[in-house]
């Protein structure tokens, strides 16, 4: 039996075990944590046809996509491990005066047990053994994953891989706990448990905001990082449109329908000036989209949700159909579509700015440049904003560009927002409601920072200091010593 309900006592036991797993991790320095993470990566990397098969069945994602995502997941663990090993996130700072009057040393340690809620759309990279779990372990936090109900068996198999790696390392199994259950109460009780110190979530606004509120109304509030998607506005600016309207239509459509539109960074809304170029672009969309076959979504619930939201948007006043993907008799497939509205309708109807998770685009046509700014101003926080623009466009739209920086985590010049590189320089986050804390990212090694807190040691005996702060600098990490970066030993 995979799915079950949980009593308060059972949840309490899980939290206590996770707390004991956390205490084990606290004994590991950053080098050791990196070693453990590479062991987890090794386990995931092993060729495992059964895993891919189960994931294919549970998610309806294509084989190639799943293989690629699995490789990305391995890479993610290794990247984060290497970043942790450099000591970058330990942020060791030592202020040690020569006269012995001052000896103050600070480093970052893990917050405590973290509860992770994975995403439906990335069964590997942002689920059980995904980025949130990797960054929490990298920070030295134990993890409790509540399995995503959309891919419970895949989740279970990934959890086994992590447990195998823990065993190989010689770590207790409680470092990582996998919990399966359908009820909202299970998640609620975990988030509210006093031993839980942080929460990470990827999914819908409704789910993320509910968890955030639970975390903030605890007697002792805890950090809840929820990545809740966005509509990722694309501003198609005039000079660019004059030059590229037709080729751009092709690029936009392929980004919009990628993975049946099931990406947080799907370019859901495109804003452009009305006129001949936009007309050309729309004709391009029509011909491009007419070639796109209907495809399967992650599961029936997501498809139903997509169809309902799309219908709600298209039934609003002032919304016209522009282009449709190929039709189908099969009711379980999603048909791509692009609609259009004017800035006036858009600005007067917040419904039109809501995310439709799936292959659905809305064009907002503006009659002048000032309206572009007004439309941008109406958006809440976004993961990305794309400028389909030339340098001349940016030059003449400085105010739009400046405002966009306040509205999103990642700004693109040309290109499309789908495709999120696992790099130091990525920002996968953004102002609310894209996430619940714009100061952090959930992709890239910097995601580790969400689960760290600084602790200072004053006049502390060297023997009992964490390795990161010892006189000898045994980990050979860069440390900020008396305001200078150094790998040197401290001579006392």
């Amino acid at each position: 039996m995979m799915r079950k309900e949980w009593t308060a006592n059972e949840i309490d036991l899980i939290a206590q075990q996770s707390e004991s797993g956390f205490r084990f991790l606290q004994q590991l320095n950053s080098d050791e944590r990196a070693k453990l993470m590479h062991l987890i990566a090794d386990e995931i990397e092993v060729l495992d046809e059964a895993l891919i098969e189960v994931a294919e069945q549970e998610t309806a994602l294509a084989l190639g996509r799943l293989q690629g995502e699995k490789a990305r997941t391995v890479n993610q663990w290794r990247r984060y491990a290497n970043a942790v090993k450099t000591g970058l996130y330990s942020e060791a700072r030592l202020d040690v005066s020569e006269d012995g009057q001052m000896d103050l040393r600070k480093y970052n340690k893990g917050l405590g047990p973290v509860v992770v809620f994975g995403a439906s759309n990335f069964p590997f990279a942002f689920s059980t053994a995904g980025g949130d779990t990797a960054s929490a372990i990298g920070a030295g936090c134990s993890v409790i994953v509540k399995a995503h109900p959309g891919h419970v068996y895949t989740s279970q198999m990934m959890a086994e891989k992590i447990h195998r790696a823990l065993e190989k390392y010689g770590a207790p199994k409680d470092v990582f706990t996998h919990v399966i259950g359908d009820s909202f109460e299970l998640g609620q009780r975990l988030v509210q448990h006093p031993l839980i110190k942080a929460v990470a979530f990827t999914g819908s606004f409704k789910g993320g905001k509910a968890l955030f509120d639970l975390g903030q109304t605890r007697p002792d509030p805890i950090p809840v990082f929820a990545e809740m998607g966005s509509v990722n506005p694309v501003f198609a600016l005039p000079d660019f449109m004059t030059q590229h309207a037709e080729t751009f239509a092709k690029q936009y459509v392929s980004s919009l329908v990628l993975g049946t539109g099931q990406f947080c960074t799907n370019p859901g809304i495109l804003i452009a000036l009305a006129g001949q170029d936009l007309q050309l672009f729309k004709e391009g969309l029509k011909s491009e989209l007419s070639e796109i076959p209907p495809t399967k979504m992650l599961h029936a619930g997501i498809l139903a949700n997509f169809q309902q939201l799309a219908t709600e948007v298209t039934q609003q006043e002032g919304v016209q159909l522009i282009a449709k993907g190929k039709g189908t008799d099969q009711t379980e497939l999603a048909q791509a579509a692009i609609y259009e509205t004017s800035s006036t309708y858009f600005l007067n109807n917040p419904k039109l700015a809501e995310e439709v998770f799936g292959p659905f685009g809305l064009i907002v046509s503006c009659s002048n440049k000032q309206e572009l700014l007004t439309v941008l101003n109406a958006f809440g926080g976004q993961l990305t904003i794309t400028f389909s623009a030339t340098e001349q466009d940016i030059e003449s739209q400085q105010e739009l560009f400046q405002l966009a920086q306040e509205k999103c985590g990642r700004l693109l010049f040309q290109g499309m927002p789908t495709g999120v590189e696992v790099q130091y320089a990525i920002q996968h986050g953004g102002p609310f409601p894209a996430t619940t804390d714009t100061r952090f990212t959930s992709v890239g090694p910097d995601a580790v920072k969400r689960f760290l807190r600084p602790v200072s040691f004053q006049n502390w005996p060297n023997t009992f200091l964490p390795d990161e702060l010892k006189n000898e600098n045994p980990l050979q990490i860069d440390r900020l010593v008396n305001q200078q970066w150094s790998k040197n030993k401290i001579i006392k």
Copy 2:
């Protein structure tokens, strides 16, 4: 007229002006912000007898203390400015592939307008021109300070200094706004205003938690960093007590009564094993404290609060008087006192773990080492925990030491927690309820981090990138380029 009420329209105007001040700061790179901060330091540094006189009248703090605090405030602006200038907080990361396929660059920018509520006990260092204001400006955020009602004129004079510096720099006055008013609604409306992007507070649990809740229940939650004080437990361990019981009594008393006990890091609760050494220590306390004259508190409200809380604690069951400072006929002076209780009474009465802001100490006597751990476990988050211990004590109390790391921001070996160095390695923060976000500090240059968020630029034209990310590296800061630290230019 210094004090007034504010209409919603007036508050809206203030927020809009501050937003325009923020837009100005966004045009400044980290070098320019550092320059502005040094100009502010210059203005504060100017000899100003009238200022010190007004502060003396408003706060009842001694002349020497105020002069020292003013110097500390100048130093704080300069330290933070120098840290900002190094680019440390810009955290520039560039991932630029040679084949031109990837060009991703990230840096940290300011969150937006920040509302600051200063502390009563530091009219310079943690108030109008204090650490929160300095770190917000360092992050590129405009600031609205709600003047502390305990020192409104001092606050006004400090605000004028900041405005003078802004004028010298050529910055609009809206970069810094000073608001005077008594009502809770004023603070509430500021925190809830949509243009406000973060809040910093230093003061009581009640005040800080109310602002935190306001920030988290906005339609768009914002970061609220509240530092709410703590009781700063001191664990006096057996081997240390055997060696130092008497001299330690002297040290403890002088820390307890420093500044009439009006420090966030005042060592309010001391935990020790019952027995002969503790007896000796208590006799030392009695003789030391009997020499301590009564002193004035910041204002009548704080004195009344101190007397009420102290009386509440001393009236609990199982609490005995150990030592008292010199008495007085003058009702406006605070008399220091130290009481004692046993771990049994302490563990059964949460009232005994509450902060009494003032020169008030409580000894918790334990009958064995296990009880020390149980008492530590009962504490909520603390700014500091002090081990009055020898290395042998730490060796034999590893579990206590490990648990203490989960409970506080700064751990001391010997010494006293009063005295907070403005250094990179300081952590002035801690788990709730010491602060509302244990991941940040409100003292030391790292305080800047509270007000920053990362933004990525993908394939962005060099001309329009912020200076921190330009190919030329015009600010000559350390950047993480393709996973390596470098000051080099990017050749494209």
